[in-house]
């Protein structure tokens, strides 16, 4: 009879409690993955059904005219243009700032303050970035007298990208072993040669992964664009279009989802399909890439 205490007893209150909480935790995990599955399935089904060659080449028709909604070419190009502008601003500034934090600063109050500022800037709501650019550029017409413009949109997005780029550069450079720096400085290289030729190339992969994820995130941002870049129904043909209203996939989804017409709603689903598929692809590939580099480093 005494031996019984050595065996697992199902009805003991601690074992019942354990079972209960374990199933509760499994339940939580199930609920947590449901949204992704539902969202992706709906976008694949509803958005995938709308994909036609014309979608990529036509302008969207203004809502209400007819049953044919047209395509999303201007928005697609607009997203590419605005994201490119944002990257052109945010990547040099962010990488440069990250280099200072990781290579030059010695943990003094200035670098502490900048690191703190990076975290705070990362927490600023995205719509505030739009409000800021609106006050700075759109309402003052400082850019050659143009108000809403693709350029302003790109600047708003760059504010959101900046903290990500600085952080990944800072952390990527910190992972580079100090021996490499000593070796380079020891054979007489100057500090900037060491950084540009040794440490940056070594950290390139991790920095590039972080930056690409930041770009993917910015491509889906809507809030900073709705009153900086606004929206446009027309093709982007030349350089001067940068200084006029510019459409983007994200704003197209927002505008057309709220239209009462079915044709526009379908266009919003199609745009979501393209946006989500490209963002998920970038995410999954950079994840695989990161896992791969981690494995090769250990060998």
């Amino acid at each position: 009879m005494i031996m019984n205490s050595l065996y697992y007893q199902k009805k003991l209150s601690r074992n019942v409690g354990d079972k209960f909480f374990t199933s509760l935790s499994v339940f939580c995990a199930l609920i947590a993955i449901l949204p992704l599955i539902f969202v992706v399935t709906y976008i694949l089904i509803k958005g995938g059904a709308q994909i036609t060659p014309e979608l990529f080449t036509l302008e969207p028709n203004p809502p209400g005219d007819d049953l044919d909604a047209g395509g999303i070419n201007p928005a697609l190009i607009g997203t590419l243009v605005i994201t490119t502008i944002a990257s052109i601003i945010a990547i040099p500034v962010g990488v440069g700032g990250g280099i200072y934090l990781a290579e030059y600063s010695n943990g003094g109050p200035f670098s502490k303050f900048i690191r703190f500022g990076v975290n705070v800037l990362a927490g600023v709501p995205s719509i505030i970035a739009g409000v800021f650019i609106y006050a700075l550029i759109v309402s003052t017409k400082i850019l050659f007298g143009s108000m809403y413009s693709g350029f302003a949109g790109g600047m708003a997005l760059s504010i959101l990208m900046l903290p990500t780029v600085i952080k990944t550069t800072d952390e990527g450079l910190k992972l580079v072993p100090n021996e490499l720096r000593y070796a380079s400085l020891g054979i007489g290289a100057s500090m900037y040669t060491t950084i540009l030729k040794i440490t940056l190339p070594t950290a390139f992969r991790s920095i590039a992964t972080g930056v690409v994820l930041g770009i993917a995130r910015a491509a889906g941002e809507t809030a900073p664009l709705i009153f900086t870049a606004l929206f446009s129904y027309y093709y982007i043909v030349g350089f001067e279009d940068l200084f006029y209203e510019m459409g983007s996939l994200a704003v197209l989804i927002y505008n057309f989802a709220l239209e009462p017409y079915d044709a526009q709603n379908k266009l919003a689903w199609a745009a979501s399909f393209i946006l989500v598929i490209s963002i998920l692809t970038v995410n999954i590939f950079s994840r695989i890439f990161a896992a791969f580099t981690e494995k090769t480093k250990r060998v």
């Binding site: 499994v26 800037l121 500090m191 709220l258």
Partner: protein
Amino acid sequence: MEEKLTLFKNRKRFGIEKNIDLIFKNTTLALSSFVAIVLFGIILVVFFQSFESFSRYGLNFLVTSEWNPVKDEYGAFTAIYGTLVTSLLSLLITIPLGVGTAIFITEDFVPKFVREIVGSFVELLAAIPSVVLGLWAIFVMEPFFREFFVFLHKFFGWIPLFSSEPAGRNSLLAIIILVVMLLPIVTSIARDSLNQVPKKLRNASYGIGASRWKTIFSVILPAALSGIMAGVLLALGRAMGETMAVTMIIGNSNVFSWSLLSPGYTISSMLANQFGEADGSQVSSLFYAAFVLMILSLVVNIFAQWLVKKFSLKY
């Protein structure tokens, strides 16, 4: 022999090389200070733009809910209340769900590859743009929950929170979509802090005969608490600033109501809705509202960072 020594001795850096080095250093210094400039720029610009409205309404702006561009009367109480209620209630639902999921990922109930798949699914959810979640909420989630809301009103209508007839988009839907958006944040930060708890704590607890969940509740969760708290605060900041999905599903009504089943407003959805078409003193009032939102999220964020610094790496 002599010659070789002088060869080493005389090798000095050229002036131009030194200058390039210095220029490079100062350029990176300037670029890193850009962060501070942008941050202060945002705060100052938003503050000065809101000055007109601030001097006219003062703090009354925060407690009145009149928003009438025709009569030029502005008060943001409905939006501020909506921001706080949607973010806090969604957080209340997200915390147990997210921490539960994080425990599932860090414990060994199921084989490792299953947990890894669940983990990356949750993280991929964070990559979905919020405007797409808003689209999904309008066309899939709202019809799905419609019957449930009618039921909720029928049986729990005596609670002020459910006291109005459900009609289309409302605050409760905004809370649900916020839960979806906050889950990845809370889960991934909770997972990281649970992973950082040293194995010896767990082994010691098992060794004195504690069961698995006794260990989790009394040893592992308390040890990871500060990290989880910081994650929760970051999620709160995100929830308050979240714009697109909320704007698309909350109904955008400035009429104050206690009921979650009636359309509401948040500061960010007010900005998204009105900024493009506003003029005159409405712009200044919108900047005032933006300033309030910014202060709220700054306070939450700074508190979260302080918490991380104060309590991290205790073990």
